[in-house]
Amino acid sequence: MTTTRFEYMTSASPVTVEGVALQRSCADQTRSLPELIFDCVRAALADAGVRMADVDSVCIAAEDLIDGRSLSSMITGPAAGAYLRDEIRLSEDGLAAVSLGTAQIQSHAFDRVVVAAWGRASEGDPQRSGARSFDPFTEQPLGLSELAVSALRACAYLKRQAGDMPRRAEAGQARADRAAANPRSAAKPVRTVPAPFPLRPAELRTETDAVAAVVLGRAPAGIAVTGVGHGTESWHLGERDLTAMASAGAAARAALAQSGLGWNDLGVLELAGTTLFDEILLLESIGLAETGTGAVSFLTDPRINPSGGGAAGDCEPATGLLRFAEAVLRLRGGLANPAGLVVSGSALAGQTHTAVVIEAS
């Protein structure tokens, strides 16, 4: 048996992004999590100009430990519209749900799919729940978390460089400035955490409550999904090159190859990482910057994370879908290069990554 390359792009009707919505909030006392989800999905449907009755399937990304109850999709799924229709929940990053939702339409199983993802950092601490993903005997006692792994990446990177990352502080400031200019950024974090060495406070993300929703379909909505890629590497941190993010590179290469686009064709890149350091490493891992020059590229290339990235407000597993929605909205605003690339990872510490290319017609 042989494995074929993706072939669906030859199909006549591309998958299009009909509607998007993203909402960041901070411990909103007036709304429950299902209400936050309901409001965001409703906004995405309104953006698409369709009703829930026009939707065939709901594809969600959610994490039990962040939602605070087992099989949380029992209560959150219906809020996203999963009532008497097809529903599937991934325990993955939201961008992986975009991939599966796209495949659902490409497979001709459905014509319109709602993709939704959320995380309420004010109620479920993602760092605490993420720490439970490490081996309970050999790793959890070390206090590992996604943030701690980001610090380990930074250590490995700086050791390899034998010096600090050039223009690192300026990149941090640029990231904060971009977030400040983004009207959709979180007003304030739900909590602040100390920066583990060698990370700096300005390099951490803004933890927030967040919901994102996307309506995928076939209607000529102006923005099409033209490339999807996935990458997976070993679960064991010791088997990975922490400075390389191989799964992100594989995902981005696959998505770009499928779309037929190159770096110069892209008008926006939304690269998601736990910290600014991870976002910069992603730049280098996917080949957009030479090794050791990621911060310079981040600083000088306005296409990269114009949303402000993690500084704009983030919570797993909504991360990738937030960034996807940001990229769509950026393309809608009109860009000289009307195409975008979104890359985002899932547990454990970016073991898997998804990349999606979108193009405005």
């Binding site: 109850r69 087992s70 029992m74 008497l84 529903e87 599937i88 991934l90 796209t102 495949a103 999807v228």
Partner: protein, 387 residues
């Protein structure tokens, strides 16, 4: 459906309460190796891996699939739809192939609930923390509520539940994967401790661990392999609130509306108009006798109002249908894997390689998946004839 897809490989570990001698990864390895061997392929032929693990709390480790199922170099997704996880994972695999993303996908579902101090304490956390958790709503008590409704509305009695369980236990004796299987008479079932009225211990599923792996491939690469073709598959979800489902136009709480809708869609794809005569074997994800009785009308085997009479005839051997030749979920219920096991067992029946539990020449089998509080349902139709 565009292009036929079939199950070409099945691998399962034995299902037992605990596996203290094996890690999660070792269980997965055993199941995957068996599935690849059954399919006569190497891992290189697998274009993507879909993992199925339900509530993390059961295993005590978040994202246990990452260390045990995800495979470097292969696209990987984890599906989590509760008890329906395994079926949803297979559905995602079908989607992946039909989208042209791979020719062959490996689906692996894993359950490590034997690591939990008490599974029902964890299942208590699937319900509302303010309104429901404190009166000990669990998967057992939620099934008990349905059982009492069936008894009140349709005249079922405790002996019905006991007889269904007894039949499943009897079937499980022929399934070497059910560790510790033994025949239990209806009287023995009724004599077992009461868990939550009207459910006795032996009418409820046991705690089970294990892994199940299934290889699915598109028509063009199947070659001469023994195949169980996917003739139809569909899923549906429902409202969380049980109170909302008691009286409504679409059907009551005990009518399993999402299962009914999933069955209708899957049957339509498969060209089934009379499941009672067009399906040879059913593998039902019914962790309780009560849930199995509810599934019959939802699957189109009888009317709701006549479901008790249908159960009587079925248990008396007057209905020519084979239910749960494997013993079903009452014999072994590794929650995350159970729905995929139903599909795997159906595939073995269709391929004629189910060993002592084979039910003659099976041309078509139906497997169901059930998750949440009868909230997520799926139906998969497998058959010998390529669609």
């Amino acid at each position: 459906m565009t292009g036929a897809i079939g199950v070409v490989g099945v691998g399962q570990t034995p299902y037992r309460r605990q596996n203290p001698d094996k890690s999660a990864a070792e269980l997965v390895y055993d199941a995957v190796r068996a599935a690849l061997h059954d399919a006569d392929i190497e891992m290189d032929a697998v274009g993507a891996v879909i993992g199925g693990v339900a509530p993390d709390a059961l295993a005590g480790i978040n994202d246990i699939d990452r260390m045990s199922i995800a495979r470097p170099g292969r696209p990987y997704l984890r599906v989590n739809t509760g008890g329906a996880t395994g079926a949803s994972a297979l559905q995602a695999a079908l989607t992946w192939i039909r989208a042209g993303r791979a020719d062959t996908v490996l689906v692996v579902a894993l359950e490590r609930m034997g690591q939990a101090t008490t599974a029902q304490a964890i299942f208590n956390t699937i319900f509302d923390p303010i309104y429901e958790k404190d009166f000990v709503l669990t998967t057992i008590t939620m099934a008990g509520i349905r059982g009492s409704m069936l008894m009140k509305r349709h005249g079922f009695g405790e002996r019905h539940w006991a007889r269904i369980a007894s039949r499943n236990f009897t079937h499980a004796v022929d399934n070497p994967l059910v560790v510790g299987a033994r025949v239990r008479t209806p009287e023995q079932v009724l004599a077992s401790p009461m868990l939550a009225w009207p459910i006795h211990q032996y009418e409820a599923c046991p705690i089970s661990e294990g892994a199940c792996a299934v290889v699915v491939s598109r028509d063009g690469v199947v070659g001469t392999r023994s195949v169980a073709w996917v003739q139809g598959m569909a899923g549906s979800s429902d409202s969380y609130s049980m109170g909302e489902r008691v009286n409504r136009r679409e059907g009551s709480l005990i009518e399993m509306v999402p299962l009914k809708r999933a069955a209708a869609a899957a049957y339509r794809q498969a060209g089934i108009t009379d499941p009672g005569t067009q399906v040879d074997v059913f593998e039902l994800q019914a962790p309780f006798s009560i849930i199995e009785a509810m599934a019959y009308p939802a699957l189109g085997l009888c009317d709701v109002a006549e479901s008790r009479a249908f159960v009587d005839r079925l248990l008396d051997g007057e209905v020519g249908l084979e239910m749960n030749p494997s013993g079903g979920a009452q014999a072994a219920n590794p929650v995350s894997a159970t729905a995929l096991i139903r599909i795997a067992e159906s595939a073995l029946q269709v391929r004629g390689v189910a060993g002592a539990r084979q039910r003659g020449e099976v041309r078509r089998a139906v497997a169901t998946g059930q998750g949440g509080a009868t909230q997520f349902s799926s139906v998969c139709v497998l058959g010998r004839d390529r669609p």
